[in-house]
Symmetry: C2
């Protein structure tokens, strides 16, 4: 059904989609390529919510040549008026003859209606080319749409023997400059960073994106500035000091509290969100993650926290991916642990991973793994 | 001084030397290539102590063509009668015109005398081509000769959070079949395995080489059998049960005791060696390692032990290389540590490593590092 040329053009559309990784949230990353007589006549990607969709950029580039062309698009064209008119209509209006779609849009506002609209207009529509690869471009958007929670990446940093700090708390600097810069790139791709008031207070951490630390090119928003991740801070008792550096700059700070305090004086950058407690008098993290996805449109959540929150998220199976920097050091058995977990009685019961990548980042190793 | 052709022929000699890695101990790995008019006319490597040296194999292959040839050899030709006549004499007798040597022999019985003998016979001798690479073939022999202790490789296996077993001791199987087979290949290259009576008793461990578990080709001794590493077992109180499986087969078992018990009944495969205690009433490990090198001709020592011995060796800076298998699991903060070390007060004081290799071994990762 699909030719080798079809596959190559869809791969090109996927590479287009990836260009939006630093800017499109909460929208999905989408790329489109218009082809006529075997030649690309237009391409584009969705850069920012509110701006044109990928198909529109491709159609603009192609102009009248779009008539009779094939459009390769990584996600089903939209059928509804959102902040922009429906792309399906634009493709019909341009006289496109065939549309190849990598995957149907899981957004309930689309979910097959875009394809139906195209077919009703007599356009040949084929679905499913490089679907796995197309899904991989949007782990966060798909997680929010399909699971009503963000795609959760847990960042850890430890010595070879799995220790994050000495007994006295010394951890500066366990990992090197390159690893810390690498973290900036993950923050740049994330909708929000999750941490705790304890961590913020201990290090006076900003958890923002710092342009001067970025080692590779990160695309900016249309207004020329970097998209800053929101900071979601677990602040159960509402005691985070308003003078901390986290309130100075960066994305919005969402203070997750167990009880909203309307009288609390907060910096303009901050806002309280309410999260119920669970039976252990801890934040009900599944409820929080659902809230972040459904109410706050958070696709991807990047967790930088201590061993307690890390362990709780792991134990609740709320982590999708681990990113672990291993410093070339041994801290010994008295140093602090990587993750606080229950005492297991059998190896079969422990959290299981599968490695997905390993590479040197400066003097350190970076391991990535999926939870299985 | 050296041409590109010289370098290529020496590289070939080094590859020859590596062929002996499973059999030559306690002798060094040596390779030789004889070249005349730009063509290789003979090559060989030293396979086993007592057998012919590399140069002899190369000369045999070349026959009378050796007259006027150049010999590339990874280690200075020997000048003394050991179990075989001196190679320097054989090269002279064959009429070789030029000898290129990667490195001088640190063995005090040679140490320049081989080169001097060749030069006295009118042969052109050049030294130092690919010396670093040639040294890398013989870390154990060079350590024994230059430092009077074996090259020590410490094997560890842990979860991502640096834990070797659950609190209840369960560690079967933390790592997978492939990692355990990989360990067999390290044992195959080692003169001896170091462990403790505690470890042997806990697992009824044999610590031998098991042909059926080898995944890659391992060369055998001239008599067709695999060289088995000796097992050096710390058995301070001389209480290791003579019925344990370690005494059933494999290489010799050296029971390291603090007091020789002449009346002790031991299996034929076993022998006691005495090691003094240090000020902490623990084995004086530097003394033991010197003994193993100088008295037992152990070039390479492969350590498979628990967190206590591992930590002590690390703390005493007696480890040259770490080989660590990381299982894709998290065991949590109550599980058992990788290395027992003192409580450090600053990160600058902890053991520092530099990564040398990382790869997948089945489901696990294998990291290797040098102590720095």
């Amino acid at each position: 059904m699909f030719s080798a040329a079809d596959t190559a053009f869809m791969a090109q559309a996927i590479r287009q989609a990836e260009l939006g990784r630093y800017t499109t949230s909460p929208n999905p990353n989408v790329g489109a390529v218009l082809v006529k007589d075997g030649a690309v006549i237009g391409c584009g990607y969705h850069k920012q919510a509110g701006g044109p969709h990928a198909e529109v950029f491709a159609l603009r580039e192609a102009g009248t040549a779009a008539k009779g062309a094939t459009c390769y698009v990584t996600l089903e064209p939209c059928s509804h008026f959102g902040r922009t008119p429906p792309c399906a209509e634009a493709l019909i209006a341009a006289g496109v003859a065939r549309v190849v779609v990598a995957m149907q849009d899981p957004n309930p506002q689309v979910a097959g209606r875009g394809v139906a609209m195209l077919r009703a207009a007599g356009i040949t529509v084929e679905i499913g080319l490089l679907e796995t690869q197309a899904r991989a471009v949007n782990p966060g958007f798909l997680s929010r749409m399909e699971r009503q929670r963000p795609y959760v990446q847990l960042k850890l940093a430890a010595s070879l023997d799995g220790r994050t700090a000495l007994a006295n708390g010394d951890s500066k600097w366990l990992t090197g400059d390159a690893a810390r810069a690498d973290v900036q790139h993950y923050r740049a791709q994330s909708c929000a960073v999750l941490s705790t008031a304890t961590t913020v207070m201990a290090d006076n951490a900003r958890l923002n994106l710092r342009a001067e630390q970025l080692l590779r090119n990160v695309t900016t928003l249309e207004n020329g500035v970097l998209r800053q991740p929101k900071r979601v801070i677990l602040d159960r008792n509402g005691t985070l000091d308003g003078k901390m550096a986290i309130f100075d700059d960066g994305g919005e700070v969402l203070l997750c509290v167990s009880k909203l305090e309307n009288s609390r004086q907060l910096p303009n950058i901050a806002r309280q969100i309410h999260c119920p407690l669970d039976n252990n008098a801890q934040f009900d993290l599944p409820v929080l993650l659902e809230h972040l996805a459904v109410r706050e449109n958070i696709n991807t959540l990047w967790v930088e926290a201590g061993a307690t929150l890390a362990g709780t998220l792991l134990q609740l199976q709320l982590v999708d991916e681990l990113i672990v920097y291993i410093a070339p050091k041994l801290l010994g058995n008295t140093a602090q642990p990587l993750a606080v977990l229950p005492q297991f009685s059998a190896l079969a019961a422990v959290p299981q991973l599968s490695w997905t990548d390993v590479r040197m980042v400066g003097q350190d190793l970076r391991l990535t793994a999926l939870l299985t």
